[in-house]
Symmetry: C2
């Protein structure tokens, strides 16, 4: 049995516009890394948080205040483990970017810790612990980021389970991250007022078209479905440059575009890698034009899940 292991978890696009709090997908781009070591003390301890993202040093080191720490505490308790974990995190996903950074630390830590168990759990079985961890950051058990990180590609997540959906291999995403932070709580606050029946029906219709399109690999159904009439109209005003970035994406062949997670990152889906690559710099320019530095990431939508990448030789 190994004494230590390290794992990465990829960034993600929570919501995918049309699937608020329900759908998400990972991207092959920025990632968080967790290194976990078994210790004799019956506790979870965070030994350090590093990485070259702004603000990493301000993240809480108290395990129960940290998504990764809380997830490992939850795992320890549920399995009545006779040992503890010491954890270090290397943040690669920018904080407050809407690319699932808090979820990635949590999932990377779980995947690493799982490799230290006498009987490792399935990815599905890790899901409840990931939800426990994620709740530290978001105040609720949202699976739209942790689920795709655990399973890869696009997932449907509930408070009970995570399901990997079929994803056509030609689908590609561009995610543009502006150098700005949008606090999750602020991004949530604008959603509180209730929703008109007309919008709820439109939302259901889009979601149904989108899921049917994904399942059939039908780009026109995906295109018809990839509209967020519910959340985007309320959140977009919080993101300077959003309209320009989305317009650029749609003008350059995107099947649809919306806000990644709680923002301010913006994503768009394309029906080929070439189309995504061509659109990425033009989307990025939408932020640059309003004076905001930005980075663009291009990835298949069916991107890989979190994986163990190193462990001691035991």
């Amino acid at each position: 049995m190994s004494i230590w292991a390290s794992a990465f978890a990829p960034a993600s696009v929570g919501n995918i516009g049309v699937g608020f709090d329900v759908l998400g997908h990972v991207i092959d781009g920025p990632r968080d890394i967790a290194r976990v070591r078994r210790i004799d003390a019956l506790e979870v301890r965070i030994d350090g948080i590093g990485g070259d993202v702004t603000g990493a040093e301000r993240l809480p080191l108290a395990a129960s205040d940290n998504t990764a720490g809380r997830a490992l505490q939850s795992l320890r308790t549920a399995l009545s483990l006779p040992f503890g974990f010491a954890l270090t995190l290397e943040k690669g996903i920018p904080l407050g970017s809407g690319m699932g950074g808090s979820a990635a630390s949590c999932v990377a830590a779980l995947v690493a810790a799982n490799a230290l168990l006498a009987q490792p759990l399935s990815r599905e079985a890790l899901y409840p612990f990931a939800l426990d961890g994620e709740s530290v950051a978001s105040g609720a058990r949202h699976g739209d980021n942790v689920a795709p990180m655990l399973l890869g590609g696009v997932t449907l997540s509930t408070s009970q389970r995570a399901i990997a959906l079929d994803v056509p291999s030609w689908l590609h995403a561009v995610v543009v991250h502006p150098d700005q932070v949008l606090e999750t709580r602020r991004s949530r606050a604008v959603l509180a007022a209730p929703y008109a029946l007309h919008d709820v029906v439109a939302h259901s219709t889009h979601l149904a078209l989108f899921l049917t399109g994904l399942q059939r690999g039908d780009r026109e159904l995906i295109r018809d479905g990839l509209h967020d009439v519910l959340v985007e109209p309320r959140r977009a005003p919080l993101i300077p440059g959003f309209d320009a970035v989305k317009t650029a994406a749609l003008a350059h062949g995107a099947l649809g575009a919306s806000i990644s997670g709680g923002g301010p990152s913006v994503f768009a889906w394309f029906d080929s890698l070439a189309a995504a690559r061509a659109a990425a710099p033009i989307m990025r320019a939408g932020f640059l034009d309003v004076g905001i530095e930005a980075r663009a990431h291009v990835s298949p939508v069916a991107a890989p899940r979190a994986e163990l990448f190193e462990r001691d030789g035991a």
Copy 2:
């Protein structure tokens, strides 16, 4: 080319609980029949409305006030037909039952009239005319009843198109129709107040589980998805006996149960014909127990679409 033709359209379960205004399915049970004749006059005329359902004689004979008449007017105009139609309807679906009676007359008339065209249209191409007809009854272009009647089984419908979904052959429905009328307009009025985010997210989650379950033929996903938290809580109080009927269904193996269309009919889904047959009398008793006469219909969910069944020998 035929001079006259007749067609039937089956009853339907609009909404299927979790798919308000978006999903619907037909049942093999009550049906409406339309007989359509080509006439020289450039008009649509309704020569009579019969059938043994209560109130059939009070349905409007003015073509533009009748779903079937309006649909044929719309067809005539769109195709600039050099002839008109005379139409008789035989109602078999009880009025105001929530089983899609107004939609069925409209679809039966279109399928019959289509057989009289020099170049008959596809079912998908008839869909916009069916929406035009249906709007006479509901005040809006809702496809959740006409779409499954045109295509069969379960459909996803938007204002633009109708899509037949994959349906496992083992799925069966029970639809219980109480001898009561619930006016569509009254049934709609309770839905006007807006919806909390929490309920909208639950609704999306259920819809996504349901569609994924249908596509995969996974009864547990269908069971998890077949809950209506949006509309049912508001409409159920308008239907005496609803709670008893739903409870009976769930206690006897239903995957889920809710209101058919705008009500007052109640439907439930089962994972076998035997289970549906066993539950049907017990569901019916839920209405009888509160002094309301009722009929139960058992049908595969993948039930047949509307069909031509007679025409002159041309």
